[in-house]
């Protein structure tokens, strides 16, 4: 296991003005006396267990750049958790960039905005990242158009009450942009019997390769602060803690410089460790609280939001804009010009990869990070609101792919890394015997959030996470029958 902590590899650009004050002492971690020592010296918050993969954050010092419009954009109606939006345009209709092309269907739903000015070419089933065909609106983009964003009337955030604010947030069409895609306004709607005392802002970005959150924290700090204040008002949270992994000292410095004087918002450095940015782990690291198993963070008075979500909230809400594009990382060894790009929603991955010069050797394309992201089966799949990264790898460039698997040698490494303190070894042995219900009943299968740490360390190359996914899916199927 790589135990080295990668500090200062990234963020060399603007970050040079702020020499890494948060670097951990480089004691060898893990082995008993040393881990004890290093935990004594370490000033940065963290959780227990987890792994140190190779972070590959080389794109962290590359400024955000804009990508060209693809000739055709494919915009799915359901890019969020909840009910799909209802299409409100016809084939042949001209749409303006930023115009609502599908409206929210109820509270747990989001509208969809046209990502470019053009004409609706088709409405129908198109391939999605998960391999299914989903209802999508295909827009042929007008090449000669200036692509001005159509905005509604600017909003005065301060004059809105909580309810009005939540409605306005829904109109932006923003879902959780870290990848969870839960509608932002639903998350910020606190049930009447619940009091949120702290909002946690997740700037950990613990997935290897991804640096879009990093760049947004550095380049769009004011948007982020505005978004935080909007979210605090909407949720009633009196204070906010921003957690950022210590491999992004420039982001921490940028945020520190923008913090309000009243102390309601603070930033804390987190140890660079995967999965630092998971809901359970970041709450534990920053606040020392555990979410009771099976409950939401709200049950302990906490709300977690991703920096990208809040930065877009702060950017779009005051001007009344809708979400038509997002910042994402395009990287991987098969990409010639990796970096962070502003990409219109609906851009097909084929076009995206052509723009950044994907090598013809690329044989695997991942949406998201390499630990939790999924490979796609077709390059016609579009970028959606939840796409935080597009990674391309050539043959043999992903270490997880080739190795021969062995039977479980009961080394127990998986128990030492599971951030939820599950027993993946036992779960894996039960999965091999197809004891799926026993896995859920006795070994807390449903608490697994598929971070991938167990598979990452498994010396026998047992596809533990995949086994758990299958077990959960079969249990769900059984429960619904």
């Amino acid at each position: 296991m790589a135990t080295s902590v990668h500090i200062g590899e990234e963020g060399r650009g603007k970050g040079d003005a702020h020499p890494a004050p948060l670097a951990r002492p480089s004691l060898p971690g893990g082995f008993f006396p040393f881990s004890l020592l290093s935990s004594l010296f370490s000033r940065n918050a963290t959780f227990e267990h987890g792994i140190h993969p190779d972070y590959h954050k080389e794109t962290g010092n590359l400024p955000i750049r804009r990508l060209a419009f693809a000739p055709r954009l494919v915009v799915p109606l359901s890019q969020h958790i909840g009910k799909a939006a209802i299409c409100c345009v016809r084939v042949g209709q001209e749409v303006l960039r930023g115009q609502v092309i599908a409206t929210a269907d109820g509270f747990v739903s989001l509208p969809v905005h046209a990502p470019a000015t053009g004409v609706v070419e088709a409405i129908g089933l198109m391939p999605a990242a998960n391999g299914k065909m989903v209802d999508s609106i295909t827009i042929r983009v007008y090449e000669a158009d200036g692509q001005e964003v159509q905005v509604r009337a600017p909003l005065d955030v301060d004059s809105l009450d909580q309810k009005g604010l939540l409605e306005a947030i829904q109109h932006t069409g923003i879902s959780g942009l870290g990848g969870a895609t839960f509608p932002a306004h639903v998350k910020l709607s606190v049930p009447p019997d619940t009091v949120i005392d702290t909002m946690v802002v997740n700037g950990a970005e613990c997935e290897p390769f991804l640096t879009c959150d990093h760049r947004v924290m550095v380049e769009r700090t004011q948007d982020l602060m505005r978004g935080i204040r909007i979210a605090m008002k909407a949720s009633g949270a009196p204070r906010t803690v921003i957690g950022v992994e210590d491999n992004k000292p420039d982001a921490i410095a940028a945020i520190e410089a923008a913090l309000p004087a009243d102390g309601s918002i603070t930033v804390k450095a987190l140890e660079t460790k995967y999965p630092q940015g998971a809901e359970d782990t970041i709450i534990y690291a920053l606040l020392g609280r555990e979410i009771p198993a099976g409950e939401r963070p709200a049950s302990i008075g906490v709300l977690v939001n991703n920096v990208m979500t809040l930065a877009y909230l702060g950017r779009l809400l005051p001007s009344g804009e809708g979400l038509v594009e997002r910042v994402l990382t395009v990287a991987g060894p098969a990409v010639e010009r990796p970096g962070n790009y502003v990409v219109p929603i609906g851009t097909p991955l084929r076009f995206l990869l052509e723009q950044v010069g994907a090598r013809s050797s690329a044989s695997e394309v991942i949406l998201g990070g390499p630990m939790m992201g999924m490979t796609i089966s077709s390059l016609d799949v579009p970028v959606t609101k939840g796409t935080s990264g597009v990674l391309a790898f050539g043959k043999g460039q992903l270490p997880a792919e080739t190795q021969r698997s062995y039977s479980c040698i009961k080394c127990g490494e998986c128990l030492k890394v599971c951030p939820k303190f599950l027993n993946p070894s036992q779960l894996g042995l039960l999965a091999a015997k197809r004891e799926y219900e026993l896995m859920a009943e006795r070994y807390n299968l449903d608490r697994c959030f598929e971070c991938g740490c167990c598979s990452y360390v498994c010396p026998s190359h047992i596809p533990l996470v995949q086994q758990f996914r299958i077990a959960k899916a079969l249990n769900r199927k059984k429960a619904t029958v």
Binding site: F31, A362, S363, T375, E401, G412, N444, H461
Partner: protein, 344 residues
Amino acid sequence: MSIELRTSPHQHSGRDVPVIMRNVVYSLLPICAFSIWQYGLSAAALILVVTLACLAAERINNMIRDNGNSLSDWSAVITGVLLALTLPPSFPLWMGAVAGFAAVWLGKSLFGGLGQNPFNPALIGRAFVQAAFPTAISTWVPAYMPHRFSEFIPSSLTAPFMVPPEIALWVKQQGMDAFTGATPLARWKFENITASSMDFLTGNITASAGETSAILILLCGLYLAYRKFLDWRIPVAVLGSAMLLAWAFHLAQPARYPTPTFVLLSGGLMLGAWFMATDMATSPVTPRGIWLYGALIGILTVVIRYFGGLTEGVMYAILIANATGSLLDQFNQPRILGGKKGKS
């Protein structure tokens, strides 16, 4: 471009079974070298023959079961080397080969191969020959015999299925008049003479091929623990519990019971604690299970040594603890984050 579908995670630590096993073998090499330095040709031949026997047994098993080649996972090498290190250097080579086959077939293949075995295969092999050849396994030779690099100990070259010759006279002819043929543990048990710590550290004692230098075993084990190829909690629990118990006995009756240092350094405790008890397949995986398992080994070792009929108790202590491993895991499931204690 053609694209492939795989499931996350797409990265791996790069540490797989062969890497772990190979590193354990590397860490055993200094112990082997020291053993050969002490006992010469016979120790070298014993290590070689036992290891080759284990590999042959593994390969034959592959052919019978038609399940590919499992030699490449290196686990049979560990079994062979460890087994050889627990045998007396004068052990007849053919008996060593029997031990090797017994270790792999009875200890591992019978249960389904790598990772499936409940008991440490090397110790199964040793237990087998302890029962089969009680005289040969308790016949000892002194270290540093003058002609050790040019001639074999006579018993080493016994023809297969023959009884090894008496070597006491031969040992005397080598100019080792003071040699008693008893291990420090036996001398303590039957004559109440304890060897000095210095002798243990330099390996100037009568012992199995790889158990002579506690300090070397400790260093090799520490290296593995530092590289995280073994779980440090197990040797700490084994040695800690053995030391505490021995210390309590020593305090109660100093004349009768030896010092904790003697208990830690003598016999196979050091090798067992670092290299046998830590066998991944046969030790628990839950945190509390690991501590209990280690403590059980330490306690059983001392109890067997003090009150049992045998002079040495590490082998049976580990085998008994192996048997409790899955039970210990069952009752010590970790408490999940944000949850109550895991149910059994």
